[in-house]
């Protein structure tokens, strides 16, 4: 048996969990929140787009309100499903992706209120919607889930997903920054540029979300080690996921440091932020699905 195989066996023996629960589609329990969430996010996206196009303050506020409603409905969708499966929301791929979308929405909403800036909502909402809908449409999971027990595990997973959501947000801000900077440098200002946040604010928003991500992933990773230690008695268990997570953490710390220096602030920092997120996506997909033995969804 491979090391990872031993790890899984130990996990299941300790928790008494031998098989994944059947990924029952709990339509009855999640149907209404699902529809409400989709509707609220779609309407919010429509309002944000209209705000970007017309500049009407009312439509921007409506977008925020609908996003907040979507967040509440999304929460009930997650909780309804978790209750139905008698487990945590991130028990499987569905929950993991859906939680990612929810945390993305929560962080964006917090940043929007903090920075008093609504014009990027139209760019963030599609990501939230895609993750929410993709999660719902994802195929049923046939693999055994990890033993999802204990507070350390709960916080480990939640904080890790929160960090990835924050990094995704900084990626969106960096993309907008590069596009706006390009338009400004080429002197091809259209209507939209006047409504977007200033480059300086986009830079700050990106740094704010990276800060959230770095703090979350640091605490989340430490809690992950604590959980493994409690579960297996092995503190220094090796997995490729650890390596890439530490690498991601290092990359974002470097970004955070460089983005505050005059020479890197702006375009270069934004490019680095985009590169970092590519590594995050690799960690989330290739590493989780094909290389790591202890992580699949986060």
């Amino acid at each position: 048996m491979t090391l990872s195989g031993e790890f899984e066996t130990q996990c299941y023996e300790r928790t008494g969990l031998t098989l994944a629960r059947s990924p029952v589609l709990l339509n009855e329990m999640t149907h209404i929140p699902l529809l409400l969430t989709t509707l609220a996010y779609l309407l919010s996206l429509g309002s944000y787009l209209r705000f970007l196009y017309t500049g009407r303050e009312f439509t921007g506020r409506l977008g925020t309100l609908l996003l907040a409603l979507g967040v509440v409905a999304h929460y009930f969708a997650l909780m309804g499903r978790a209750r139905g499966l008698h487990t945590v929301p991130y028990h499987d791929l569905y929950g993991s992706m859906s939680l990612f979308g929810w945390l993305l929405a929560v962080i964006y909403l917090a940043l929007e209120l903090y920075h008093r800036q609504r014009s990027v909502g139209a760019f963030v909402l599609p990501f939230i919607l895609v993750f929410f809908l993709a999660a719902h449409l994802a195929p049923a999971d046939r693999l055994a889930p990890p033993p999802a027990h204990g507070l350390a595990f709960v916080f480990h997973v939640t904080l890790s997903i929160l960090a990835y959501a924050a990094f995704a947000l900084s990626f969106v801000f960096s993309l907008i920054f590069l596009a706006e900077a390009r338009l400004l440098r080429n002197r091809t200002l259209g209507t939209v540029v006047w409504r977007l946040p200033s480059l300086e604010l986009l830079d700050r928003m990106s740094q704010s979300s990276v800060l959230i991500g770095v703090v979350s992933i640091t605490i989340g990773t430490v809690l992950g080690f604590v959980w493994v230690d409690r579960l297996t008695g092995q503190y220094s268990f090796y997995d490729s996921k650890y390596v890439i997570t530490l690498f991601v953490l290092l990359l974002y710390i470097v970004y955070f440091w460089l983005a505050r220096s005059a020479a890197w602030r702006g375009t270069r920092a934004s490019k680095l932020c985009i590169f970092n997120f590519v590594i995050v996506v690799l960690s989330f997909t290739v590493v989780n699905l094909y290389i790591s033995h202890s992580h699949r969804y986060f």
């Binding site: 017309t54 500049g55 009407r56 303050e57 009312f58 706006e180 400004l184 440098r185 002197r187 200002l189 209507t191 540029v193 006047w194 200033s198 480059l199 300086e200 604010l201 220096s261 005059a262 020479a263 602030r265 702006g266 375009t267």
Partner: protein, 429 residues
């Protein structure tokens, strides 16, 4: 329309009068107060408000009688008050009544009647004029409602349309661009090359947007010091480029020079010294003061006078495209105001009708009862009571509908026609 509800407006503005005339009939705050008091004391107007800005002088009022009859008196008053011959004002004054006066004020408040389309200052000036008149007791229910509506229109137009959001001059476009890059300018610094009229406009805009530090560089130190002194800046000696370009986030160049004074090489060195911190260069000189090749330097944004003029033109087009939306807001509020005005009048009309019917009932009963001596006093009281009940029943439904249904009030185009129809005899008498 009933007396005490009509609105009259007499005034002139930048479209109808040259500055030589406008300056002669403008009102200081004290003059506005005195004019309002005199107009009411002489019985020309019951409610008065004077709106005086650099582009317009307007008197709004509610006359005791017909608004059309009061207008000539108002024109004469203006001419007398400012000691201007009537023939000087004759071609410049405009008169608006009721619906047109309401629409005019709402358009003024929205910035649709301004010299610079959508300018923001006018709303503050309308608010201030109203506050002043209200505090001095010059306004009453009609003008209070009218000016509250005007302020609401101004606010709505500015939040719901983009009529006033975009810069309309080269200087303000440049400063707005700086805000696109650097956000708020409170912690930023600017270097102005040149001390001419264009530089002054830009400096004024930068100061109004809260730029933290201002440096002026000019061949003539004396002129540089004069500009710096007026706007709280510092002078940098001409030619000290390394020092001058190290600090600022924005550089505005507007000097007369045959060759660009800011060459690419010089700027490349400056960018290296400043650690490639972002730099916005506004080249407002002709010939250009900044070498165009510098545009490829990292974190450098260059805009020349043509680029900024293009932005202003785009913004002007964008503002003009917002006019229909702003006009729609104006019309909505004009209808709302007229509906309120009609409701007040119609309720008054119903009261008058009730009074007339009661009086008719009294006369009718008196004449009929003369031939019915067999009726006891209690019977007569009973008949009077029944007839009163009937009258109330007949009036109740229309009165309630007039109070509650805005659409119905809108349909009733002329309250005067109704008054003529039902109260004709009374008015004749």
């Amino acid at each position: 329309m009933a007396s005490g509800m009509e609105i009259v407006l007499v005034g002139l503005n930048h479209r109808t009068a040259p500055v030589e005339v406008r300056e002669r009939v403008s009102f200081t705050t004290e003059q506005a107060q005195r004019a309002a008091e005199e107009l009411r004391a002489r019985g020309i107007l019951e409610e008065t408000l004077v709106l005086s800005t650099c582009n317009r002088s307007e008197v709004y009022g509610v006359p005791p009688e017909s608004s059309h009859e009061c207008a000539p008196g108002l024109s004469s008053f203006l001419s007398e008050f400012h000691s201007v011959r009537p023939d000087v004002l004759r071609g410049s004054l405009y008169h608006h009544y009721d619906r047109d006066a309401v629409r005019h004020l709402f358009r003024v408040s929205a910035g649709l009647d301004s010299m610079l389309l959508g300018e923001a200052e006018i709303l503050g000036q309308v608010r201030e004029a109203y506050r002043f008149a209200h505090e001095h007791g010059a306004t009453g229910p009609v003008l209070n409602r009218l000016f509250q509506g005007a302020l609401e229109v101004g606010k709505r137009v500015r939040t719901e349309t983009e009529l006033g959001t975009r810069p309309m001059s080269v200087a303000s476009a440049g400063v707005k661009l700086a805000e696109r890059i650097f956000g708020k300018l409170h912690e930023r610094s600017a270097l102005v090359l040149g001390a001419g009229a264009i530089s002054e406009q830009v400096v004024e805009q930068l100061r109004s947007r809260g730029i933290a530090h201002l440096f002026v560089m000019n061949r003539s130190r004396e002129r540089a010091e004069s500009l710096a002194q007026r706007f709280g800046g510092k002078v940098v000696p001409w030619g000290e480029w390394e020092t001058a370009l190290n600090g600022p986030d924005v550089v505005v160049a507007s000097i007369s020079a045959e060759e660009p004074v800011l060459q690419r090489e010089l700027l490349a060195r400056a960018m290296a010294t400043r650690g490639n911190r972002a730099l916005l260069l506004m080249d407002l000189g002709l010939p250009r003061n900044i070498e165009a090749a510098a545009a490829d330097l990292y974190n450098v944004y260059i805009y020349n006078v043509d680029d900024l003029t293009d932005i202003v033109q785009q913004n002007r087009n964008a503002r003009e495209s917002e006019i229909p939306r702003a006009e729609a807001v104006v019309e909505e509020h004009v209808a709302k105001f007229l509906s309120w005005q009609a409701s007040v009048e119609l309720v008054g009309l119903v009261e008058e009708l009730r009074s007339k019917l009661r009086s008719e009932r009294g006369a009718f009963l008196s004449s009929r009862l003369e031939t019915m001596n067999h009726l006891a006093a209690a019977d007569i009281r009973r008949i009077e009571s029944l007839m009163d009940d009937l009258l109330e029943k007949l009036l109740l439904q229309p009165a309630e509908r007039l109070r509650g249904e805005r659409e119905l009030r809108r349909k009733i185009q002329s309250v005067e026609a109704l008054r003529d129809l039902f109260l004709h005899d009374k008015e004749k008498s």
